[in-house]
Symmetry: C2
Subunit: 489 residues, 2 copies
């Protein structure tokens, strides 16, 4: 049996802990089913080229926690008693199980098939869902959008043809460059902007064009899982760098002397998921690292538009003097996710090759929506919408923090409430994350553990609370129900 | 100087011919500029690991044709007298020159940077442009489209959120499956359909997931250049298979005994660019090849909707019993290109991994357009539009063929007029393709040589004539002007 386990000796977590975690996930996501026999310690040790002691240590932990059971003389099996509803109840799961295929996959395909945690897309219908990343959809000015769509649809028919601008509709790139320069201190001209199908495609193109499989990428720990999966799938070596109150602990980059770090992926405006804002000294330190080593920086600025009472710190891109920063932005949070429009601000030397790659991979984005978005920005609708949303989110955020403090007091630690549309909360509780999620689901509450976003030093009791699309009543009621679960356990 | 020349000993064309062709293209697309010194024969022979005689033969041909000149005692140079307007006048050119980069590219990035012929996107404004691939945009029922957009934009706001269907909006997949089963004898259920950003993304995903760099892909010769570039960029070995009146000469697949052919890319309904229709015996032969070797087939059905008086032959996919066929379709030709919606019909075993890859690469397509398209198909607008367009294209095609015959008689051979929205024409002329294109541009006529679509046995005087978006008056006048150029030379 192939178990698709990848251990990484560069991680600070000991190998037996990594093995334990991966086996546990394999059981929880159902790829190992109850009653299924697992490999002998001797076999697994050999196939992973690790010591048998490491395997035994992991197995013992899983046995003691009831994930595995031994049947004398027959071997070790996945426990029959694992409650079915625990399986797949993790908020992160595979999209669909990839069964053994009759058709041979490429290395990329194989790695993708074996990725354990693809953030899930379909969720159960829940009354109050604290998932992250969804803006307040009902507040979107749909009538203006509809009017613009209708206008551009009819204006003339030239837009129906292939675009001659694979990097994006020129007036849109101009509007974005103008907006970024003004509001984010990003230093760019329209020609440096590549319009992409959201952040995912921007990341995918960067990896394909600039990083060779096997090269090393540093990520925040915890950090954005969907980015990590792109890096993993394309065969990158990944090293986790700690995050504290000032964001990425830049000096840790020097710890990895054996690996040349080609790229650092950061979310400086509102670190995902902790919400820390990367301090100015750290920003300068990171840029100086890039300049000294020739390394690159991806600055993922996914929701910096929402800040509450904090003075903005200039984007890394705007501080950069050595063309080391690839800046990514998206309209998924400020407008709506199904628009699928994001953008990449590129050093000038990379514009031509990225444009060519975009043309090769899928030509260009649909043109109509690009026209509508350009007009939406240029005629001031975007800034008006942002002002309105800042005030709505600020209020929701305050309500959420207030009810959390009221119910939990010192039993909850709140992080990252100064920006964005989610916060992170650490609970003191004897319940496991899975138990909390499971009980919450039963009372109609959707919860997301921060755990899968950690590559090392997995915590317990840390959850991400998206509040963008929840009303004050929902926020209050949601936390009330949650308090009953966590505090009464 | 690095010249980025790739010679392939597997091609039937002799090496000196390949080298000649690539050097010539490098001069024409401006990567080697007039007056620039080219490497010595000794140096180039050594760096390409070929005999010096091969290099000398190519250089001599280029010298005799006036592309190169020698300066005694100084070396060989690109000729100063190459007229500037010949440079970059080829209808196929690089998007932008990729200059040497300060940032290291991946292997993929490097290969892409060195691709010589990326089909061009920006074209000069011409009165009558015979470019292929553009449908009759002014005939598109824009009012219906606009009404549907307006309706779905307002219906409810659920569509604004991330889609829970990365493989595509379910009603759209259902509508496409239904349409394909009925009109193309494709054998599929909605679950097998993956909605993609056009044909390009479908091809890109297939290559990434199923083909490892270095593996061999067979393509039609001539064949669709944009597909070939995707294969080349991802590091595939490519072998050309001839095309005759019955389409791909399947038996030639057996000639490549040294390479295991993993994949064959074909355009059976209307071979691009020759227009041949793959005969039923050949289809069965190709499927039997796949069954015997375990090879895969990409069936690119880019414009099969338009047939003139020919009985349709079932799609390869519908005849396949062994899950060897990946069927690609697009709405770029039947509706409009900037919609950016295509689809892939997958063997069931591949659905999960392709869905996961789509989710990872760019999540999903914009949802609004998918809703509109689903309704457009389901309420019969697509079939009505197709009926109307078939009759319009049929008439345009007849006019084009008639005026070609009238002016050129036996000096023009017309191919592929039974389907699609382009034909291929071979002219008997002493002028080179470039000379014809250049003279045509001067009188406001856009021409596309078939030459770049050949990987081997490059012809002379073969052109592709797209007629979809040209009126009968434009077609008549365009050919009249062309006759003056070609016949009066």
């Amino acid at each position: 049996m192939e178990l698709a386990i990848t251990l990484n000796k560069n991680l600070p977590e000991p190998l037996h802990q990594q093995l334990y975690e991966q086996l546990r996930q394999t059981i929880l996501n159902g790829r190992l089913t109850p009653g299924e026999r697992i490999p002998s310690t001797r076999f697994l040790a050999k196939s992973l080229s690790i010591s048998r002691f490491t395997v035994t240590t992991s197995y013992e932990q899983l046995l003691s926690e009831g994930y595995l059971e031994t049947v004398k003389g027959r071997g070790t099996f996945v426990c029959q008693q694992i409650p079915d509803n625990l399986i797949d109840s993790n908020p992160i799961e595979i999209i669909e199980k990839i069964n053994p295929l009759p058709i041979k996959l490429s290395k990329y395909g194989n790695t993708l098939a074996n990725i354990k945690n693809v953030p899930r897309i379909a969720e159960p219908e829940l009354q109050i869902n604290f998932r992250y990343g969804t803006p307040a959809l009902s507040e979107f000015p749909i009538k203006i959008w509809r009017r613009l769509l209708s206008h551009y649809c009819n204006a003339n028919l030239n837009w129906l043809d292939y675009s001659t601008e694979p990097s994006g509709y020129q007036p849109l790139r101009k509007a974005i460059a103008h907006y970024l320069t003004r509001s984010r201190a990003v230093n760019c001209e329209p020609e440096q902007i590549l319009i992409t199908n959201g952040t995912q495609q921007a990341l995918d193109l960067i990896l394909r064009l600039l990083i060779e499989p096997g090269e090393t990428i540093a990520i925040e720990n915890p950090g954005y899982l969907s980015a990590r999966i792109i890096f993993e799938t394309q065969g990158s070596q990944i090293v986790p760098i700690s995050v504290d109150n000032s964001g990425l602990v830049v000096q840790e980059l020097a710890n990895f002397k054996d690996n040349i770090i080609r790229l650092v992926y950061v979310t400086p405006s509102h670190q995902f998921p902790t919400g820390a804002i990367l301090s100015l000294p750290r920003r300068l330190e990171l840029l100086s690292w890039a300049q000294q080593t020739g390394g690159l920086i991806i600055e993922d600025d996914y929701d910096s538009e929402f800040r509450y009472g904090e003075k903005p710190i200039p984007a890394l891109q705007g501080l950069d003097k050595s063309d080391s920063v690839l800046y990514i932005g998206t309209f998924s949070k400020v407008l709506f996710p199904s628009l699928r429009i994001g953008y990449l601000v590129l050093p000038k030397s990379l514009v031509a090759i990225f444009t060519r790659a975009k043309w090769l991979c899928d030509r260009h984005l649909p043109v109509l929506e690009q026209q509508v978005l350009a007009e939406f920005i240029e005629s001031g609708h975007l800034e008006r919408h942002l002002r309105k949303m800042r005030s709505i989110y600020d209020q929701r955020r305050q309500v959420l923090v207030k009810v959390l403090k009221k119910h939990f007091g010192k039993r909850a630690t709140i992080l990252g409430e100064k920006a964005g549309i989610h916060i992170m909360v650490g609970f003191k509780s004897d319940l496991s994350d899975e138990e909390i999620i499971q009980s919450a689901t039963k009372v109609g509450i959707g919860m997301m553990s921060a755990n899968p976003h950690y590559l090392a030093n997995h915590p317990k009791g840390e959850f991400i609370f998206g509040y963008g699309d929840l009303t004050e009543t929902q926020l209050t009621e949601g936390i009330r129900r949650l308090a009953q679960i966590i505090l009464c356990s």
